[in-house]
């Protein structure tokens, strides 16, 4: 009851023109940052951070949180329309969103991603408000062994993403993990596989790799198909189709389930929205009545990935606000924003500055609503991208891919890496190696390696089996790896 009273007061704190303007500006900036490959949510929050120096703390925080929240949705727009995920967390959205566009149903992909994002965002905020303190206490007690097992569980999604080509999918995932070891070792500081090239000391940046593997490999495939005089959405002239309320309602369980998964994964510092969306997608596929249509334009796949992705924002705010631990790069920048205003994130913030905390919670609800309205209006514009002939769109995609790759570190090396990943991705894809496991390997690589080695340093190789939570997660991972393979074996013994 006290919580509801606080929340109502929170809405009172943000009632006014200035907070509303901050939300609208933040949402617009967030959607743009998310949709532009190469501009990450954390970059968007960081770019707007200096503008908040002179603002009252609540308005500044509201603006930055709105950017963070909306950028997670923005990534799905380009993932659905041109198979170029604007953020790593939108990769899983592209699995079914882009096939929908190829079927001439871009409206479906965009509509579902918007509604799922909004619902996921709302669920994440509700969980943040109600359970933030007990959940944060559990998350910080996680041992590195449990983090490793959690990452392994994340990797188990490869088994269900793989389909019949599981050996190729595993090879791709392992390749992603191996690529991730290039650069200076995060624990010992040893240079690994850098071949004397200083640009490789930080390893391959994730964004150019992502753009190359998804966008450029697809561009090369389209050129090879010889279909460059057509449009992405096919030669349809009829009115664009959008899902009806009933269609959205039919996706309620997939969306809610993914929202819960997304929030929970978001709470674990370092796990991130990309892992959340992959895991939720995998779970959505396993629990769907039509798992065979996942990857071919199943709306449940879009809903699962997007709901989890947006819900993870609420999850990531849990350790930030309750313990002062950033769960992601964007929340790390938000901590900076709090500190600039002499605010120390932690349990005391709830008692000393309830106006700030509950005002922020209330603003996240409003930001979700604004995101829905702007997204609804914007989708009608974005969909026009799919009507552009491919012989115009292809050079534009390559151009934006190079801008996105360059903007990450202002380095031409990254543009070259993006092209390299594009060529490798095209070659591998045309021979049945899926791209998603490579990306998953790259996402999880650091989390897995660092926690694996920390765990071994702390408790030897047996530590993964001594700790009950780690053992349970390992067993679930093994089952998750094996189940799709056993199922497949049953269906086709050869």
């Amino acid at each position: 009851m006290e919580l509801i009273t606080h929340l109502i007061e929170g809405f009172g704190y943000i009632a006014g023109i200035a907070p509303f303007l901050a939300i609208v500006v933040g949402v617009i900036a967030g959607i743009f940052v998310g949709a532009m490959p190469g501009l990450s949510p954390s970059m968007g929050v960081a770019i707007l951070l200096p503008f908040t120096f002179k603002m009252p703390p609540l308005i500044g925080l509201v603006l930055l949180t709105a950017v963070y929240l909306a950028s997670n949705y923005g990534g799905s727009i380009t993932a659905v329309t041109i198979n170029t995920p604007g953020t790593p967390s939108a990769v899983a959205t592209a699995f079914d969103g882009y096939p929908l566009t190829l079927q001439g149903k871009a409206g479906w992909g965009l509509g579902i991603s918007l509604v799922a994002s909004t619902v996921g965002g709302m669920v994440g905020i509700i969980i943040l408000i109600v359970f933030s303190q007990p959940l944060a206490a559990v998350a910080v007690k996680m041992h590195p062994a449990e983090y490793f097992s959690l990452a392994l569980f994340g990797l188990s999604t490869v088994a269900s993403l793989a389909g019949k080509d599981w050996a190729k999918a595993f090879t791709a995932a392992l390749l992603g993990l191996l690529i991730n070891t290039i650069g200076i070792d995060p624990i010992s500081g040893v240079k690994r596989y850098t071949f004397g090239e200083t640009s490789l000391f930080d390893g391959f940046d994730f964004i150019p790799a992502l753009i190359g593997l998804f966008a450029l490999s697809e561009v090369f495939s389209k050129i090879e198909e010889g279909s460059w005089k057509t449009r992405l959405s096919g030669e349809i002239s009829k009115q664009e189709q959008w899902p009806t309320l009933k269609d959205y309602w039919n996706l309620k369980w997939a969306t809610l389930q993914a929202s819960l998964v997304g929030t929970l994964i978001g709470i674990f510092p370092g796990a991130g929205s990309a892992i959340a969306s992959f895991l939720a997608y995998d779970l959505g596929k396993r629990t769907s009545k039509h798992p065979e249509t996942f990857g071919k334009g199943n709306p449940e796949g879009v809903a699962a990935a997007e709901a989890a992705n947006s819900a993870s924002v609420g999850g990531a705010m849990v350790p930030l606000l309750t313990l002062g631990i950033p769960g992601s790069a964007s929340t790390a920048v938000l901590i900076g924003a709090l500190m600039i205003h002499d605010l120390a994130p932690g349990p005391l913030l709830f008692t000393e500055r309830p106006d700030l905390i509950y005002g922020l919670f209330a603003s996240m609800f409003v930001a979700n609503g604004v995101m829905f309205l702007l997204g609804y209006w914007g989708s009608r514009l974005w969909i026009k991208v799919t009507k552009v002939p491919l012989n115009v769109l292809i050079p534009l995609i390559i151009s934006i891919a190079s801008v996105g790759s360059f903007a990450v570190k202002n380095s031409l090396f990254d543009v070259g890496a993006c092209f390299g990943f594009g060529v490798v991705g095209w070659v591998l894809k045309r021979h049945g190696y899926p791209m998603a496991p490579i990306v998953l390997g790259m996402v999880l690589g650091k989390l897995m390696e660092v926690n694996f080695r920390r765990a071994v340093i702390m408790g030897g190789y047996g530590v993964f089996f001594y700790r009950p939570a780690s053992l349970i997660l390992l067993l679930i991972s093994i089952a998750a790896f094996a189940y799709p393979l056993v199922q497949m074996r049953k269906e086709s013994p050869n």
Partner: protein, 190 residues
């Protein structure tokens, strides 16, 4: 000691060059052999050989990492390499038994267009360094659209210039991305 010296050499730009030449030395004769035998798995075998080669090179290099602390920096790469080698072995067996899907058939003109586009991308990368980002992007867009049979001359110019203006306004002016200016224009203009 000898392994350490070999590894130090291989983990350098010259070493990388030698490794790539060596890979080409394996792949080209293998490709010619497979083509003569009309194998339906030419490309897949070449991919597997590349993966195994890459894994073995990375494995060899991992033994040169200095051991600091309880778990060396080479432990995890070796784990992933072991996995790649096992998966490659499994795939090789399936190819040998004819259980894998054969290579996709593509006409040579379609493949040629992809290779042309890859070359165009490489040229674009070089041109950014030489001419600067905006002029290079303008020429890339013009040639890129023309290559894909977009013939409308006004459309070509308007689209390219419009896109460059968008990139300039958003990324250069608003977000202050310091795009390369190239070496040629500053050199010519002093």
């Amino acid at each position: 000691m000898t392994i350490q010296r070999i590894n130090t050499f291989l983990d350098s730009p010259l070493g990388l060059g030698v490794l790539l030449v060596f890979l080409a030395g394996i792949e080209i004769p293998l490709y010619l052999f497979l083509r003569r035998k009309e194998s339906p798995y030419k490309s897949q075998i070449l991919i597997l050989v590349s993966l195994v080669y890459l894994s073995l090179v990375f494995l060899l290099l991992s033994f040169a990492f200095p051991v600091k602390g309880k778990v060396s920096a080479g432990v995890t790469p070796r784990l992933w390499i072991l996995g790649i080698l096992l998966c490659s072995l499994y795939l090789a067996i399936r190819i040998n038994k004819g259980k894998e899907k054969s290579d996709p058939s593509v006409s040579s003109s379609q493949s040629r267009m992809v290779f042309l586009y890859i070359l165009l991308c490489l040229g674009y990368l070089g041109a950014i360094d030489l001419l600067g980002f905006f002029p290079a992007s303008f020429f890339f867009l013009l040639i890129g659209m023309r290559l894909l049979s977009y013939t409308h001359p006004v459309g070509l110019i308007v689209l390219s210039l419009g896109w460059i203006a968008f990139l300039y306004l958003v990324f250069y002016s608003l977000l202050s991305v310091p795009f390369p200016e190239g070496i040629l224009i500053p050199y010519l203009l002093g």
